[in-house]
Amino acid sequence: MLEREILLEKMRTTPYLPMKARIVEAQMVTDKEKFFRIQLENKINLGHIPGQFVMVSIFGFGEAPISVCSSPSDKGYFELTVRSTGVFTDRLHKMAKGDELGIRGPFGKGFPIDNMFGYDVMIVAGGLGIVPLRSLIRYIMHNRNDFGNVQILLGCRSPRELLFEEETKEWMKRSEIKFNCTVDRADPDWKGNVGLITTLIPGVDINPTRTYGVVVGPPIMYKFVIVKLLEKKIPDHQIVVSLERRMRCGLGKCGHCQIEGVYVCQSGPVFTYNDLKKFKGECHEKAV
């Protein structure tokens, strides 16, 4: 059977049963975030779309939705970057190379890469938002000619929280991808921008009708970033965001991730602003 068929068949017949997977690489990348490279049993590819997520199981501790941060073009494994912030993620942080865990997925709708072909891409990441966006950035790097101008704006609280530093340097060296970074609070060694991410947006030069703006970050950040992108005249359906919600099943049943009538785990986590603006009041990310 093709890998895709195996995964689809599993989803159809035993949707709650995790697949066996092994951690092949694990390392702390900041004080609070740990990076994992994971291989599914028989080394089958996850075959995800950038922006999709998996449900990670640690038996006895439960299950949690985690964004995939590698590109589907990274074959034979996939990667996660996880902040330790509760019982489950604390336990996940204790796991090391060689340990086994359970994986279900991939779930949800990813970034609309097919629609983005030929367009310029402006990526805006706030804090941990860079994690799901890394899957898109790596995908773009591996398929560079499918996209026009690409620029990345990254904001985080302090330089210590900056994720994927080595890769960031690589992105910066690559002349064909523009990269700009800002921190809320600098430390003595920081030579870059200081201030909120929204301060970077007015200065960027884009052709709005040919640009996709992709935003991931905490709700408080996107609200204001979306306003800035709208001011830049990027059309509503070309502003793309990925939303965080509590999730238990990934199958559009358990109810936790619902925004009004929409199950984020199935209809999202990636939405366009055109989708978001239709919500009547339960969407915290809707621009003010």
Binding site: L17, F59, T85, G281
Partner: protein
């Protein structure tokens, strides 16, 4: 045979017969209320009952249900339920049958839920039609669930001396054939049924002050209504309303470990959108703050969202949420308040 008749004097014989065919669940008295329970003694079955504390949901969507067995060292998973057993739900009201249809729609929607569908496959439903209101809390007429609308194998109607039984499926037919005390209904009996249905029309009146499509339109406009503030102020967030609702299906998952801390079972358990951590993520952000918003969500999940998604109202009119509410929040009053805000009297 389309309609059969059974003398009341033979009801217990039939119950005894059904009990031998499969696990039989039926309503019985519990203190001053009623519950569905497996039938041990046929005499305990009580067909004149107001909606049971919990709907029969507990049999096809159990409160705590095994998903799979696991061991973590080495990593292994295994089926938790080898075989699903045949069972008969006896004496189910039409509102609760509507509840079963709602959950069918939810769990058949792709991706399908095999746990639910496996149980549902083994279920036989024998309903009983209500000829009078259970109490003042029901809104089954507005929801159109006071009369049978399919979704059952057999449907009984109490005609005094006898039950007339509508046979709606092959599975149902097998349970009434070959028994000398169940006969094909005569024309005289059929006209008695007609008369009972006519009499019902005088008893059952729409409980909402507007027709159902108007209720939907009103919900479309009432997201910012002050009614929700009022409901939220009274709500104590106990979650009773969602636990007793035949169409609430939100759940959580839970791992139970054996003492070895190595082997265990993953369960799914009922959860309630009325709990304050229901939409909270690990980082601390709460995406549905306030009892008013959580109550509003519950109502919208009955009168708006499922209509958009499945073309079906998810309130069955059983009245359980009102009956069980510790703060006297009434579904009929809430919906009527919204309707009157929209100018209906």
């Amino acid at each position: 045979m389309k309609y059969a008749s059974l003398k009341k004097a033979n009801l217990n014989d039939w119950l005894g017969h059904l009990k031998k065919k499969a696990k039989l669940y039926a309503p019985r008295k519990k203190e001053n209320l009623f519950i569905f329970r497996q039938v041990k003694e046929v005499e305990d079955v009580c067909l004149e009952y107001i909606p049971t504390i919990l709907p029969p949901k507990k049999y096809y969507f159990p409160q705590k249900e095994k998903l799979f067995k696991f061991s973590s060292q080495p990593f292994k998973t295994a089926k938790a339920i080898d075989k699903f057993e045949e069972f008969i739900l006896f004496g189910v009201h039409t509102c609760d049958i509507a509840g079963i249809q709602c959950l069918d729609v939810v769990f058949r929607d792709a991706p399908e839920d095999p746990n639910y569908l496996n149980r549902k496959d083994k279920m036989t439903i024998i309903g009983i039609e209500c000829l009078k209101y259970c109490d003042k809390y029901a809104n089954c007429t507005s929801m159109g669930n006071h009369i049978p609308r399919g979704g059952y194998d057999l449907m009984m109607v109490d005609l005094g001396e006898k039950f007339i039984i509508h046979i709606n499926s092959e599975k149902g037919e097998k349970l009434v054939t070959g028994l000398d005390y169940i006969k094909e209904a005569t024309e005289a009996e059929m006209s008695l049924l007609e008369r009972a249905r006519e009499a019902k029309k005088k008893i059952f009146k729409e409980e909402f002050i507007g027709p159902l499509p108007k209720v939907y339109d009103t919900f479309d406009k009432s997201f910012a209504s002050a009614v929700w503030k009022d409901v939220g102020r009274r709500c104590v967030a106990c979650g009773n309303c969602t636990a007793v609702c035949p169409t609430c299906y939100c759940f959580d998952t839970q791992d139970d470990l054996e003492l070895s801390l190595d082997k265990g079972v993953r369960y799914r358990i009922w959860n309630s959108c009325q709990m304050d951590d229901f939409a909270k993520v690990a980082g601390g952000e709460d995406f549905r703050k306030g009892r008013d918003n959580r109550q509003k969500h519950r109502y919208y999940r009955k009168f708006k969202y499922p209509v958009d998604k499945f073309n079906r109202y998810f309130c069955t009119g059983c009245g359980r949420c009102t009956r069980t509410c510790m703060a006297d929040i009434s579904l009929i009053e809430t919906v009527n308040s919204l309707l009157s805000e929209e100018g209906l009297q």
